[in-house]
Symmetry: C2
Subunit: 303 residues, 2 copies
């Protein structure tokens, strides 16, 4: 029954050196779902306020995202405002208004409890745990997190990690969570915490996937035009989990291809503000970029 994702649906206001948008569609759940929808069925659990417009719901439905788990609560939708400088690597958060997200209590519709692929986007680890308690026997559980939870809710986060197969996390947060500056050693520390696979997101430098017996390094797709990096990480995760859910193969080779598909989806979403690039994206473009990715990285082995 495809993927279950729990995350945020939000209005983003973003400024980059290339432009400025106000209260456009955003949120980790939105980016993830849209990206995953190119490969798999997706079921979104999230909350919006009464101000959330029909056309955004319509867009998600047009991508075949199931909204049976999307609650509408009295009040305003989650809002985030941020700014990027020329290096585009890190957002400066200007304003966060949790609004209806503050009291978000994720409840899974009956049809979702048999989900076999679960993605817990970057939300309070207590909510992530709450979701995990509602699913019956998921085949693969992945989660994201951030410095805010690593610092403020470490115990709860460690409890969540105990029940997770894959942790998808930024490079700096990998070091922070493990309290170890060397990335490979930090990864080994985290693999002791529960996840059997760690996917380290390095922004424009790509992704490193680490498990006990394997290391896989993928570059980011080199782009001449990056307009807005917002949502790149969740879009990556969406492509990654979406591909795995679609192919239903969980061998090393499929995980590696999933990393590439995730990277490709991220490379598209940053080409425009919000999810705008996803609105016109065709599957043939994804495949074409996969082939370019192969050319970008391949070299001959020794005789």
């Amino acid at each position: 029954m495809g993927i279950l994702v729990v995350g945020s649906v939000a209005f983003d206001s973003v400024e980059t050196p290339f432009g400025k948008v106000k209260e456009v569609l955003g949120g980790s759940g939105t980016f993830f779902s849209t990206s995953a929808s190119f490969f798999s069925e997706v079921n979104l659990v999230a909350v919006v306020g009464e101000d959330f417009p029909q056309d955004h719901l319509q867009f998600l439905r047009s991508r075949n995202v199931d909204l049976g788990g999307l609650q509408t609560s009295p009040g305003r939708t989650f809002r985030w405002e941020g700014r990027y400088g020329y290096d585009l690597n890190e957002a400066e958060t200007l304003d966060t208004q949790l609004n209806v997200f503050e009291a978000f209590d994720p409840r899974l519709p009956m049809e979702y409890v048999d989900a076999d692929f679960v993605f817990l986007a970057n939300i309070d680890p207590e909510l992530q745990l709450k979701v995990l308690k509602q699913v019956r026997r998921p085949r693969l559980v992945a989660c994201d997190t951030m410095n805010f939870w690593i610092e403020g809710k470490r115990a709860q986060l460690l409890e969540t990690l105990h029940h997770v197969d894959i942790l998808v996390i930024n490079e700096g947060e990998t070091r922070q969570l493990a309290q170890e500056p060397n990335l490979v050693r930090a990864a080994r520390v985290i693999l002791e915490m529960g996840p059997r696979i760690l996917v380290v997101k390095r922004g424009e430098y790509g992704v490193l996937m680490i498990s006990e017996h394997s290391l896989f390094s993928a570059p980011a797709y080199p782009l001449e035009s990056v307009y807005d990096p917002t949502g790149a990480g969740d879009t990556f995760a969406g492509g990654f989990m979406g591909y795995l859910s679609g192919t239903r193969n969980l061998d090393e080779g499929s995980f590696r291809q999933a990393i590439i598909f995730g990277s490709i989806m991220a490379s598209f979403v940053v080409e425009d503000f919000s999810l705008d690039r996803m609105r016109t994206l065709e599957f043939e473009e994804i495949e074409e970029r996969f082939r370019r990715f192969k050319l970008l990285t391949e070299f001959q082995g020794l005789g």
Copy 2:
């Protein structure tokens, strides 16, 4: 007749979070030559002072580096002192004493003027040009440079670039030289300046090789123990040029393999201070790491 390299031979004093060494063997010419010597004949043009010890010369000779172009001048050898923090990405220079390097006037022994592979390490672009005027018909010329020359001797650097096939340069300096924040576009700008291939060094994130019709991205080899990044860039360049000179193939496939060999040599040199790791390195270890590099990056194409 192998590679001709012009660069510095120096005493380095280095502090990293893992230790401290004083006046050990260093310098761009030294790191480059030693690395290249695993693949090719190497001819070093450089200058040392009267204080330079025989055992350092003996080490270079033991690597079959030809020292016919190494001048000894009255005075002290070039000294550099630097410090690295935990991220190991950028050195803080504490002291630079040019000493005999200040009046360095590179003169090629007669036997060197027919060199067909030339590497101009990061020195004054006027000296780089002087060297180029002395070689007859090199098959491949590569050079390195840095912010100091980009800012202070831009005109002379542009003149050098005009006569160079390959520019090997740091990521930040790529942007600075091109005056363009986007890396891919910055590369295109630099390809208009003369070089037909740009090799962008991204430290722990690997290397991007860009030419008019091709892009190749290679990660750095993920290491659990990095003790001292000094000389990593020159060691990379040495493996890269050394492999090309050794194989004498200049097709795209050989360039890609050369990038991998360069990355491997850099991954070894940072495992210990100065060139100490190079003193015990065996070619079988290089080949073994090449195979691991292949496993690190490979994934299946689309059906």
